[in-house]
Amino acid sequence: MDAQPVKEVWELRLYVAGQTPKSLAAIANLKAFCESDGDHLYTIEVIDLMANPGLAKRDDIVAIPTLVRNLPEPIRRIIGDLSKRDKILIGLDIAPRQ
């Protein structure tokens, strides 16, 4: 048997704005997605722009919620409440774009 490959660490940031239904849904959907995906190790940082509005410009956020894959490079962006799993797979470059 081959040695178990070292899982790549994927660094994700989720930008939300307060405790809105969309934001809460995005957080829950992201957690569920990461737990279901056994191929990668995920670190998730949730950033509430309501508390830190200055970060919106720094990280160039327009839509809420926005999920940013910081690592591995290149940076990828997915917007929405992450209710569409197939789109997350495409957005994170796990599944190929049609």
Binding site: A17, A25, A26, P53, A56, D81
Partner: protein, 479 residues
């Protein structure tokens, strides 16, 4: 009539743009605390208009502003307006301006579920709060249409954005690209209903002219014409030619022509200040020299003069005048005489007019020379030239500026001159007459409104002292 013009509703506050002329045609500027749509094609000047609005707000009216760019980076914006003399980095450093480049590219974004544009609101809100902004520019928010696929969300968010801007109490400019069937490509006019301004950059007979029109201004009177406007190193200016009312303040003050003896022919005291003077004559008859006398004497009194030269370069005029003993260079050096030289075909008539307006408003001369006016016919029909001169004379009179217009006479009876003559208060004719094998110069006051002018044909010479009037012809006595 249901659409009769309504006087300004009491309480409709205006926000001055500081754009020369624009505040005049809108009777005060943009609607305060409301968004205005500025639309036009590529290169029409909408971004520059918007930037000018913010810079003037920050510098002249103590109203900080936020510039949100959806296309260009902060650096590019700063570079673009540096040519107008705006130093955006300095204003940013002083906390009077905030720049934000919002980058939206569809190819890089995957949409996975429901979203809104709260991030944009937060960014804008944060910028407004940080510098206490009173003015906001969104240039151009239509880019968002290329960045998102869910049109229902986008349109809903735009509607919410414009409502929100009103709630913030900021005066906003939203720019939009000219559309095919609609005013803007994505119908922004649907969201911004208070004030709509259209800019155009039109080319007629190979000459480009910029034009501005206030399409709509809810609750306010405004000029509905197309106004020429100008973008140059001083920024933007719009030429307000609204009414041609004949209600100028009339001066009884006199301005010497600067030529001994000529004042005597003009009721003894010279031209009226603020009047328009036509000097016509054949080629080489001394028209420009007469103009130079007027400028020379005015500058000697410390008055400012603007000399619009359409045929000769300033250097050439100065050299030529030196040959008849009139040295204009010291006045140029002192800054009291300003030459503005351009080939007539460089711009359209409207642009010429706008440029002249711009200089008169900024330099505030008391004497203006246009030398010569007939070359302008190269860029317009005679009725256009006439209309332009009418507006220009009107402008000079409203400012109390004395205008001297030089014109070439070619034929026997010049129809065009006759039509221009009605705009002129004084008409001096210069002649070259061949007598006994020499060409003799003479001068004649064809008309001069409001004064008892001489009807003599006076011979004159052009020498080291300029124009030297000789004795009256014996025949000229009586009337």
């Amino acid at each position: 009539m249901s659409f009769a013009s309504v006087p300004d509703r009491a309480g409709l506050a205006k926000c001055p743009t500081g754009v020369l002329g624009f505040d005049q045609i809108t009777e005060g500027g943009l609607p305060q605390g409301r968004p205005t749509l500025i639309c036009g094609g590529a290169g029409c000047g909408k971004s520059l208009f918007a930037a000018t609005f913010l810079v003037n707000g920050a510098i002249l009216y103590d109203e900080p502003g936020v510039f949100v760019s959806f296309e260009e980076t902060e650096d590019d914006i700063a570079k673009n307006v540096a040519s107008l003399g705006f130093d955006l980095p300095a204003l940013v450093a002083a906390g009077k301006l905030a720049l934000d480049h919002v980058r939206v590219e569809r190819g890089e974004i995957e949409e996975a579920g429901d979203y809104d544009l709260e991030g944009l609101f937060l960014r804008l809100g944060h910028a407004i709060q940080t510098i206490g902004a009173k003015r906001v520019v969104l240039d151009t928010i239509e880019t968002l249409f290329g960045g998102f696929t869910n049109m229902a969300v986008l349109r809903g968010e735009l509607r919410r954005l414009f409502r929100w801007l009103k709630d913030q109490g900021v005066t906003a400019i939203v720019t939009g690209e000219h559309g095919e069937r609609m005013l803007t490509r994505h119908g922004l006019e649907e969201y911004v209903s208070d004030c709509v301004v259209v800019l155009e950059h039109r080319v007629v007979a190979q000459v480009a002219t910029r034009r501005l029109r206030v399409l709509k201004y809810r609750g306010s009177v405004h000029g509905t014409n197309e106004y020429p406007f100008l973008i140059d190193e001083h920024g933007m200016s719009v030429l307000p030619v609204t009414s041609l009312r004949l209600d100028h303040e009339v001066s009884v003050e006199r301005v010497t022509a600067g030529i001994p003896g000529l004042d005597g022919m003009l009721g003894g005291l010279g031209f009226f200040r603020g009047s328009s003077v036509l000097v016509s004559g054949t080629s080489g008859s001394g028209k420009s020299t007469l103009a130079a006398h007027l400028v020379h004497s005015a500058c000697g009194r410390g008055e400012r003069c603007a000399y619009f030269a359409f045929e000769e370069s300033p250097g050439q005029i100065v050299r030529n005048m030196r040959s008849v003993g009139i040295d204009l260079q010291p006045w140029r050096d002192a800054g009291t005489l300003r030459f503005v030289a351009a080939r007539p075909t460089l711009w359209g008539l409207e642009s010429h007019l706008a440029r002249m307006y711009d200089i008169i408003e900024r330099f505030r001369p008391s004497i203006v020379v246009v030398d010569p006016i007939y070359t302008l016919a190269a860029v317009g029909t005679s009725s256009e030239v006439h209309s332009m001169l009418l507006r220009f004379v009107d402008l000079l009179k409203s400012r109390g500026v004395t205008g001297l217009f030089v014109s070439l006479e070619s034929g026997n009876i010049d129809v065009e001159l006759a039509s221009i003559s009605s705009l002129m208060d004084t008409w001096i004719q210069l002649r070259l007459l061949e007598e006994n094998g020499v060409r003799n110069r003479s001068l004649f006051v064809l008309k001069s409104r409001g004064m008892a002018h001489s009807n003599a044909v006076r011979p004159f010479t052009l020498g080291p002292g300029g124009i030297q009037l000789g004795e009256e012809h014996a025949m000229a006595e009586g009337s």
